[in-house]
């Protein structure tokens, strides 16, 4: 190494230099994220650069974790083989339970399809966007019209990596989520082990795994399990940082937090406890420890700021209900709190809740609260894992409180029950911590494990078997896809009353009913062209009285000159879903021809188009 290089390295490794670099990076990130780009520019940066920024971040995190594991493995105690096998057995049992009761399919309309669609474009075109329309062009299914989605990129990015590794198929998302389910249980078991050795580990695994809401996501296509996993990862990395404050642990922790922030919208708030823990580490060491990853971290967060900017300026993305004007408001609080209370306390089969977890958590929160209050100002003397748990637990409470002000956060709604997952995770860990303290006098953890076993057989298994909470909307869509799959092979166009996304990710062209009405002349032409073997239309029918008297809702009615032939019909709850074949379109004389779109205007990632 030359003298000048050594001198540069020495100056760069000086704490003061690093502190300056860190502040500068923060300022630059703030400027780029909030000031420099217009909304449209931000949208373009995210669409075309989002993938690569995430790729670099993720790769850096992997390297940091690898270095951390290599450096730290010898210093920590290890679980016993018997405890490890018990944990592996329990995880295996819970995984079988989770994946055998529910069908692998999306659970939340249409959240999960958007994520899959984004992953599709990331995989094929490195374009961070979801499809609106798509057609097969020269044997390649091309996304012709796309938009930047509001959902953070980490989950679609990971899914695109799976596609990269094994080839594109929609089932990859389920493989990813099963992996995340197992990883989540393993991580919570590890955290539980750190709190109370094998009793804590098994109890944590049992409590989280017996929660139907957690199991529901194992066979789903959402990003919730990733968020839970990342929360657990940063809790563990936060603990590792406090246990051994050095550049390696800091890099892993900081980059983990950067990923967590991009796992779910509201996870951005976890930056605050992470910053506090880093500051605590500095204070304990009486020096500033800043790694290269920590300096780069603000820049890695620029996409988060840009996405926030795009969402704030795109009210259409907020998906507000009728008569709602803002996403967060105190007026939503009362209803959301009532729903949350009902969710945590309802004993029936209809909710994906765990009354056992709720009941144990009440007692555990009391114990932990009392223990913390008794410590008064001596909180900083807590162990590293306990401190990390305290910081992130407080943040989870803050995030959960924030969600109570959100317009669509009634936990009794199957669509929004998933918001409660981080809170459930916190409750699990609080119960483990309280049981660890109580174990000194009574075998509380063992009794709780027995209760978990009875709960799994008595409540979790039948709940997961019925999975009342997973049927809304998805049954109908799955039926449509089965009916279409059972028809003779051929390329089809689906005119849907729901969303084209579920069809597009299967590489089946699809448009909405409204668009079909707008481009009826083109559809009429297509009926005589060989591109589609048939055009299928999905509609619903609703009862108009107590006696039934089903009718097609006005927004799904097609003009009478669309000639349909019924293919299949099935009841879902009180709704009749029907699939018809478009056999003719007799355009009226006064029909105005539709305007053709500019060819190739929105074909993403296709050079030369």
């Amino acid at each position: 190494m030359s003298d000048s290089a050594a001198s540069l390295r020495s100056s760069l490794s000086r704490p003061a230099t690093r502190a300056v670099a860190f502040v500068l990076a923060g300022l630059v990130a703030g400027y780029l994220g909030f000031v420099h780009f217009t909304v449209e520019e931000a949208r373009n940066v995210l669409r075309h650069g989002g993938y690569y920024i995430m790729l670099v971040t993720f790769f850096c995190w992997l390297v940091a974790v690898w270095r951390q594991i290599r450096a730290g493995s010898a210093a920590t105690a290890s679980p016993t083989p018997a405890g490890t096998w018990a944990a592996v057995g329990l995880i295996g049992l819970l995984t079988v339970l989770a994946v055998t009761h529910e069908t692998f399919r999306s659970k939340i309309l249409y959240d999960e399809y958007v994520l899959q669609s984004t992953a599709y474009n990331l995989h094929f075109f490195r374009d961070n966007s979801a499809m609106v329309r798509g057609y097969e062009v020269r044997d390649v299914f091309v996304s012709l019209d796309s938009y930047l989605d509001k959902r953070p990129i980490l989950f679609p990015f990971l899914l695109s990596l799976v596609h990269d590794a094994v080839g594109y198929r929609t089932a990859n998302v389920f493989a990813l989520n099963i992996g995340l389910y197992v990883a989540g249980l393993a991580l919570v078991g590890w955290l539980g082990w750190k709190l109370n050795r094998w009793r804590g580990g098994l109890l944590a695994i049992g409590l989280l795994g017996s929660l139907p809401l957690y199991a529901q996501n194992a066979s789903g296509a959402g990003m919730e399990l990733l968020n839970v996993c990342m929360l657990l990862v940063v809790m563990l990395q936060g603990g590792a940082w406090l246990a051994r404050p050095d550049e390696r642990t800091l890099s892993g922790f900081v980059l983990g937090v950067v990923l967590l922030v991009q796992a779910r919208y509201e996870s951005a708030l976890y930056v605050v406890p992470a910053a506090l823990l880093i500051a605590l580490g500095w204070w304990r060491e009486r020096r500033l420890i800043i790694s290269g990853a920590a300096i780069a971290a603000p820049l890695f967060l620029v996409p988060v700021a840009l996405l926030q900017k795009v969402i704030s300026n795109s009210p259409i993305m907020w998906e507000l209900h009728e008569n709602q004007t803002s996403r967060f408001s105190a007026e939503y609080l009362g209803g959301n709190l009532r729903a949350a209370y009902e969710f945590f306390t309802t004993p029936g089969m209809t909710r994906a809740n765990s009354p056992l977890l709720g009941a144990l958590a009440v007692a555990a929160l009391g114990v932990v609260g009392w223990r913390l209050a008794a410590r008064r100002s001596r909180w900083a003397d807590l162990g590293p894992v306990q401190l990390s748990l305290l910081a992130f637990g407080t943040a989870i409470l803050a995030v959960s409180t924030l969600i109570m002000f959100y317009y669509w956060a009634a936990l009794t709604d199957p669509m929004s029950a998933r918001f409660a997952l981080p809170l459930h995770l916190l409750l699990v860990l609080v119960i483990v911590a309280a049981a660890a303290w109580a174990d000194r006098r009574w075998p509380v953890s063992v009794v709780a494990l027995g209760a978990v076993a009875v709960f799994i057989l008595g409540v979790s298994a039948p709940k997961q078997s019925y999975h009342h909470y997973s049927h809304a909307g998805n049954d109908e869509l799955a039926w449509e896809q089965r009916v279409v799959a059972a028809r003779p092979p051929g390329q089809r166009l689906i005119v849907t009353n729901k969303s084209p996304l579920p069809w597009l990710i299967e590489r089946t062209p699809s448009i909405l009913l409204d668009r079909a009405k707008g481009v009826a002349d083109r559809l009429a032409d297509q009926l005589h062209m060989p591109d589609f073997s048939e055009i299928l239309v999905t509609q619903g029918m609703r009862p108009a009285s107590a006696e039934g008297q089903y009718q097609v809702p006005p927004d799904e009615v097609l003009p009478p000159w669309f000639k349909l032939e019924l293919v299949a019909e099935r009841r879902f709850g009180t709704k009749l879903a029907r699939i018809s074949r478009l056999v003719a379109i007799d355009l009226p004389a006064d029909y105005q021809p539709s305007i053709a779109p500019a060819v190739g205007a929105a074909a993403p990632g296709r050079p030369g188009q």
């Binding site: 298994a461 609703r542 009862p543 009285s545």
Partner: protein
Amino acid sequence: MNIIEILRHDRRLQVLILTAVLAVVLGFVAFTPDQALGLMTSGGYWTILGTTAWFLWTLRPLLLESRPWTLPKGGDGWAAPALVAGCGVLLLVHEAYGFKILMDEIMLLGTSMGMHFDKHPLVPVRGHDLQGAFQLIDGRLDKRPLFQPFLVSILHDLTGYRPENVFALNTGLTFGLLGLVYQAGRRMAGRAAGVLGVLLLTSLPLLAQNATGGGFELLNLVMIVGTLLLGMRFAEKRDAASQQALLLSGVLLAQTRYESILFLLPVGLLVLWVWWTERKPVLSWGTCLVPLLFLPVALHQKIFAARESSWELASQPGFDKPFALQYASDNFAHWLNFFFDNTGEHSNSLVISTLGFIALPFCLLWAVKTLGRLRQATPVQAVSAFFTLGFAAHTLLLLCYFWGRFDDPVIRRLSLPLNLWLVLAVVIVAGVLVEISRWKRLFLGLLALAAAGLLAYLLPTPPVRLFTLPFNLWLALVLMVVANVAIDSPRWNSLWLGLITLTGIGYFAYSLPTMARHDYSMDYYVGREMAWRREFMAAHPEKDYLVIDPEALGWITHLVSATPVQQALARKDLILFNFQNRTFSAFYVFQRLTVDAATGALSVQKDYDLGPDFQLEPYWERRFTPLTVSRISRLVAIKGGELTPPSPAAPSLEKMSAAEREKARQAFFEQLIKRLP
């Protein structure tokens, strides 16, 4: 021992007596049948769960100590597992999995369904998809014990509900049974006896039929042999842990099949004998609570004692009480017809029947002799003798059962414990014989042959077909006796070799082709009809249709909406409402038709007749017997009802607000729930 003194000083014994009295009062006196039904409904699942969990917990240290899964050292350590695996496969490969005995097996499946979904032991009567999930709406308690449905429900819990889980359970139990029989034989008379026991059982086509069915017979056999082995352990160790495992096994055995409660007799005698020889009761606090675990058995009994119909006396005309000595002679003739049938129609094993009935009298004599001098007997011999009493009591009970005809397709399975006893009798008697000189053995063998011939001569009723036994079996028997004298190896006594050879010949000459043909399953067309229903369901995987069928439970347990014919006739309005509103994508009717032998004309059997108001269109049809045809038709119209609702014109959805639409939806949903069939 001074009983009064012990009673005065042993608190555990005092508590045991108190709990026993309490169990009797609670089980037989305190509750009315309706209250008993309520208790069973709400607590039946949890009681059997608790009992099973306790049993497993008790078994755990015993297993850890004896480590039965470790293979014995030596080159042939794998021999026994390989034998069990091979024989298990042979039992399973010849017949397709299916529900063989209707409605018995479907009722058990229904109970497991209720236990899985709702944690109560009720057989579903109605079930529908209301809002995505198939929900059980009504149920009733079945007369069958709860242990087998409980185990199936655990499989449902762990792997998701599917009717086929019961086949998985029975497959596992098949291997388990063979393994346990090997262990029992080995304990009684060495490894060769274990091998012989396994081979003999493998030669039983009836076992193969049940191994691929959905019944509780396999579990019953496993529990009998398991209890026998635990009895041997207790007799050797004489500790509280072994006793508790034995008692809990007995409790679960009593909840496996109705009549298996009789095996509590050897269990009780064994416990008392050990207490007597130890001159004190061997008791743990846990054991004191065991009498309370019999409460479900007593309550179950109470509920069904109040229902005359539960004995199904009406199904067999001419009988007015379920048990009577007068039935014995008739039943015995049918038993002989079953055991010595050589046509393959009765799922019997000729080799078990021949060897078993020769060995049985000797076995009884041996048991009486052993019980008379228990002090000199080894623990294994004592337990074998006690269980011989249990098997004898069980056999006697079935002999006096009004429907105890083993050559009846539905009843054959009741002979399984007797077949097991025959196998064990062969093993026990052979175990005694190997201890005596070869010339005595020759003499006894010839005596046995003569006895068998005499028996055939003295009972010349048509069902007795001893003289028509295949020639090769007789020849093998003679060869065995001769070989027994001629050969004697230090490792494998010639008697065992001869018996194993004989079993092999019996297996290949008779049992295997019988299993391959499985005429006994084909003759029982009700089972094939159920398989056909399952074929229909497999071909219609959407399960969005309603079936009208007297055996509605067969469909409901497969998550298909169904209603009995009588219900459809009584509430035609309900069918009409659902027909008009397309609640189900299709309506099917299952009917059985009789073919007129002279004209070939088809007529719907009375129980399946929907009358002229329901217009049907044949959809699937199959002939199961020359004069019986089963048909699935599609309901296309109902007389007296329009295909659209007759009520006044509905308001247009377009003119309704969102709230009004929701109100209409709610109102319709309430109607739908009330008016589902």
